[in-house]
Symmetry: C2
Subunit: 364 residues, 2 copies
């Protein structure tokens, strides 16, 4: 651990994972003169096409991890499901940012929710579920509808089931493989928002405008910045993200997804999920902010000052291109002012994020 | 030549040259899902660090050129001094955009100036010089000061000498190696501007705001968009670029450098030089326009529609970081709203372009 933690241009950032987030991180780093070394087990990952160095190996391959750690100045990751052993090995041989304790925290919904609550921040009501009996008790307490989610490895709606009146609890529990779960009480939210923010190695913190997200089939479809929430709610949302980042000694870009509940007292925020990485709801910053979330992350992990999060235009929209939607590329290329981003994935599959398009709207 | 000339995402653009222009082209292509294959004879060229495929070979290596042509869907280039034989070979085996006739045109100052004049566009007064006698006659006609420039391979002030009163003409001619030259009469310009524009494969044409350039030691130091010229002059400048692009059946980004002369009749434009490629005076578009010049070039050579050239902010400034100036990177990273670009060059040398910084100024 003799490695420096404030880098010079020309330094190499190691990135675990080779999907579109790694791809956009690698490009943003190159803009700042940083080399990217992508480590991924998937040969046709598109981040391999824009990086200075490549390791094609399993995350469990310690020889490959050791060579990777020796070749890079800092390690970061594009996804939260980096195996704990991989992260521990790399931390022993290099500098890992964000620190791997954040991975442990966010890989398990139960740990994450307890952490958030411990900071005095509201989450959906939840109960730990490790058996049909526990599920029966939890469902009685939280009522219906409620949502059963596996504690680990869920994303884009995978690993979760809505519990309605009359559901066969044993069947539902088995359909998730009998894995440890949390049951979450239903939150009657008016809208979903997220805070994409960054914390620097020096403790500096900067957030982008809180943005509003629309999901379709559990996958993010649309983000609009800024969110239609009042200024106090936006400020409170940013403070929650700051608290979470500071409590976890976070370095890098973090995203915190929240529900906005409207009740008699006004707007209330309920934290849904933490993503310890650049996030799909921050893609609008590529065209809509002075510093993109990808550059911001690379600045943070390089130990550099954070950049301006100032937004361009009155409003910025980002729409995902999911599966076949990518076939709209010719009309999007021809649309005045639309900024098209394609991820270079060789195969189009239903539900797969193939690209996105942003639109900066000058005036409302 | 069975290759298609309107590509699909996933297609490969071959780029001749591996410097910062190729690097920024490769990244812009990746944003659109295009793969970049960089061909360069210089192993430590920094474009190699952001591309999907690499060929390290001499431009004269026909086996390497044939393999390259077979591996790519379209060939483009980052510099005008591609050897004529290389261009001809590639044109026989692939699609080359812009077409190599433009290279022949712009590689020789005499040919270029005759072409521009032939379009009814003003250039500096000039004479062909292939001997001391021709220089003596030309200098008598054009007066002093005047500028002797080699017809080929000049850039950033290299290959040119100012002729003043009393100069030793034979000595000056020999100091340029006795190479064919043009002598240019002095143009008493008020400012230097350039038009960065693009022509699509469908004949569509779009120009960015005319920008104003300041050179120091013959190297571009500063670009400001828009230029401080009147609207009619700006429109006339764009029309000249359009005429040049149409007359050469151009596809891609082109830059036309011009002098603005102020006289009793108002502002007058004198074309100085054509660059058949993305251009340093267009770097401001990376942060200051909806579509960067690099994306615009990739769109054009892919046979795709051109993107919006709309400018952000009231004014955009781009400053080059030449040689040691790159050592200012820490303060530039920390400057609110400054967008830093570093080219990943391993060695800093005097006069070498190491990076640039752009600033989008919201209001004047």
């Amino acid at each position: 651990m003799t490695k420096t933690t404030s880098l010079r241009p020309g330094a190499t950032i190691g990135i675990l994972g080779g999907g579109q987030l790694a791809r956009m991180l690698a490009k943003a780093g190159a803009r700042l003169g940083l080399r990217a070394h992508v480590f991924s087990p998937a040969a046709d990952d598109s981040a391999f096409e824009v990086c200075a160095a490549r390791t094609l190996a399993a995350f469990e391959d310690q020889a490959a991890l050791a060579a990777f750690a020796a070749a890079v100045d800092v390690v970061t990751y594009e996804f939260e499901n980096v195996p704990a052993e991989t992260a521990a090995f790399l931390e022993a041989h290099s500098v890992v940012r964000p620190n791997p304790r954040v991975l442990a925290l966010t890989q398990d919904r139960l740990t994450e929710k307890n952490f958030v609550r411990g900071l005095g921040i509201e989450t959906a009501p939840f109960e730990n579920v490790e058996s049909v009996d526990m599920l029966t008790a939890a469902a009685a307490g939280l009522g219906r509808p409620s949502i059963l989610k596996t504690r680990r490895f869920g994303y884009d709606g995978k690993g979760q089931i809505m519990l309605r009146e009359g559901a066969d609890l044993a069947g539902v529990f088995q359909s998730l493989g009998g894995a440890p779960c949390v049951l979450e009480g239903f939150v009657p939210f008016a809208r979903e928002v997220s805070v994409v923010a960054a914390r620097g190695a020096d403790g500096g913190f900067r957030a982008y405008d809180v943005c509003e997200n629309v999901h379709e089939n559990h996958i993010l479809a649309l983000t609009v910045a800024p969110a239609r929430i009042c200024a106090q709610t936006a400020a409170a949302a940013v403070e929650m993200a700051r608290k979470i980042a500071e409590a976890s000694d976070y370095v890098g870009v973090i995203a915190v997804e929240m529900f906005v509940v409207e009740d008699a007292g006004g707007e209330r925020l309920v934290v849904n999920e933490i993503a310890p990485r650049v996030h799909n709801s921050g893609h609008w910053t590529l065209d809509g902010a002075v510093t993109s979330q990808f550059e911001q992350h690379m600045r943070a992990v390089a130990g550099w000052p954070l950049g301006s999060t100032h937004r361009h235009g009155a409003r910025v929209e980002m729409r995902n291109l999911i599966g076949d939607e990518v076939e709209k590329w010719p009309e999007l290329l021809a649309e005045e002012g639309a900024c098209l981003h394609l991820y270079g994935k060789k195969e189009t599959r239903p539900g797969r994020k193939m690209g996105h398009v942003t639109r900066v709207i000058a005036e409302d």
